[in-house]
C-alpha cells in the first residue's frame, strides 16, 4: 500500500485543462448574451456540464483513481439527476 505508485499529473495537463475551462467560460458568456429564448438555459447548462466534467476528471483526479470511486461519483450524480427529472415530470404533468 505504502509503495503503491502514485500517478503524477504533469503541469502541462493542468494548464491545458485550465485553458479549455476558460474557453468554455467565455463561450458560455458569449452565447448567453444572444437572445435564444429557452435555448439559452440549455446552452449555459451544457457548457457548465462540460466544465464540471473536466474538473471532476482531471482536477479531481477521477481519471487516475480506482474504478470504484468513479462509480460512486457517477452514482451520486445519477441520483441527483433522477430527482431533478422526477421533480420536473411532476411539474409538467400537474
Amino acid at each position: 500500500m505504502q509503495h503503491e505508485k502514485t500517478h503524477i499529473v504533469p503541469y502541462r495537463t493542468y494548464l491545458i485543462i485550465l485553458v479549455a475551462l476558460l474557453i468554455f467560460t467565455l463561450l458560455s458568456v458569449k452565447i448567453t448574451a444572444i437572445e435564444l429564448g429557452g435555448l439559452t438555459v440549455a446552452a449555459a447548462l451544457i457548457f457548465a456540464s462540460l466544465k464540471s466534467y473536466l474538473v471532476l476528471t482531471y482536477f479531481m483526479h477521477l481519471k487516475f483513481d480506482k474504478i470504484y470511486i468513479r462509480i460512486m461519483v457517477g452514482f451520486v450524480f445519477a441520483v441527483f439527476l433522477a430527482v431533478i427529472i422526477i421533480t420536473f415530470l411532476d411539474y409538467y404533468f400537474r
Binding site: 500500500m1 485550465l18 439559452t40 449555459a44 474538473v55 482536477f59 470511486i69
Partner: protein
C-alpha cells in the same frame, strides 16, 4: 506522546480519500437541493427571474469564475509539485491559491455591497415595496446560495492553510500527501459549485 506517534502508523491515503468523497457527496446533495429549489421557482416565476437577473453584474461574475478556475489549477499543480518533492513550488502554488480565494471574497464583498446600497438585501423594506414576489425569491436564493458558497470558500481557505502549514513543517510530504490532496478535492468542489451558480444567476437572462 508516544501514542500520537503510533497513530501515525495508521496513515491510509485511500481511506481518507473515500472519506473526503463521502463528505463531498453530502455537499453535492446540499447544494443540489438548493439548485432544485432554484429551478422550480424559476419555472414558476420566469419573467421575474429574467428581470431580476439583469441586476447582476456579468463582468464581476466572469472575473470571479476565472479567478476560481485558475485557483483550482494552482492547487491541482501543488499536489504534483509535492509528489515531485518540490517543496518550495508546492508552497508557492498554495500561496497563490489562498491569494486567489481572498481576491474572490473581496470581489464578492464589493458585489454584495453594491446590492445593499441599492436596497437589495434579505429583509429589506425597499424590496417589499418595489419588487415583485418572484424577484424577491430570486434575490433570496442569490444571497443564500452565493453566501453559502462564500462560506465554503472561507472553510476551503482554512483547510488549505492547514495543508500549507503541514507542507512547510514536512508533516505533509510526497509519501503522506493525503491532507493536501483532500484539501484540493474540497477546493475543486467549491469550484464545481460555482461552475453551476455562475450561469444560473449571472448568465441566464
Amino acid at each position: 506522546m508516544s501514542q500520537v506517534i503510533h497513530h501515525d502508523e495508521h496513515y491510509d491515503a485511500e481511506g481518507s480519500k473515500i472519506g473526503m468523497w463521502l463528505f463531498i457527496f453530502t455537499e453535492l446533495l446540499l447544494f443540489g437541493g438548493l439548485f432544485i429549489i432554484y429551478s422550480v421557482y424559476r419555472f414558476s416565476n420566469q419573467d421575474a427571474f429574467h428581470l431580476a437577473a439583469e441586476e447582476l453584474n456579468r463582468t464581476v461574475g466572469t472575473i470571479n469564475t476565472i479567478i476560481l478556475l485558475v485557483s483550482s489549477m494552482t492547487i491541482a499543480m501543488s499536489t504534483s509539485a509535492l509528489q515531485k518533492k518540490q517543496k518550495k513550488t508546492t508552497l508557492a502554488l498554495l500561496g497563490v491559491t489562498l491569494l486567489l480565494g481572498l481576491v474572490f471574497l473581496v470581489n464578492k464583498y464589493f458585489e454584495w455591497g453594491t446590492k445593499f446600497e441599492h436596497g437589495i438585501f434579505p429583509g429589506s423594506q425597499y424590496m417589499l415595496d418595489h419588487l415583485s414576489q418572484g424577484e424577491i425569491l430570486f434575490f433570496g436564493l442569490y444571497f443564500v446560495m452565493t453566501g453559502l458558497h462564500a462560506l465554503h470558500i472561507i472553510v476551503g481557505m482554512v483547510v488549505i492553510g492547514f495543508a500549507y502549514a503541514g507542507v512547510r513543517s514536512g508533516r505533509v510530504n510526497a509519501d503522506r500527501a493525503a491532507l493536501l490532496e483532500n484539501s484540493g478535492l474540497y477546493w475543486h468542489l467549491v469550484d464545481l459549485i460555482w461552475i453551476f451558480l455562475f450561469p444560473l444567476f449571472y448568465l441566464i437572462h
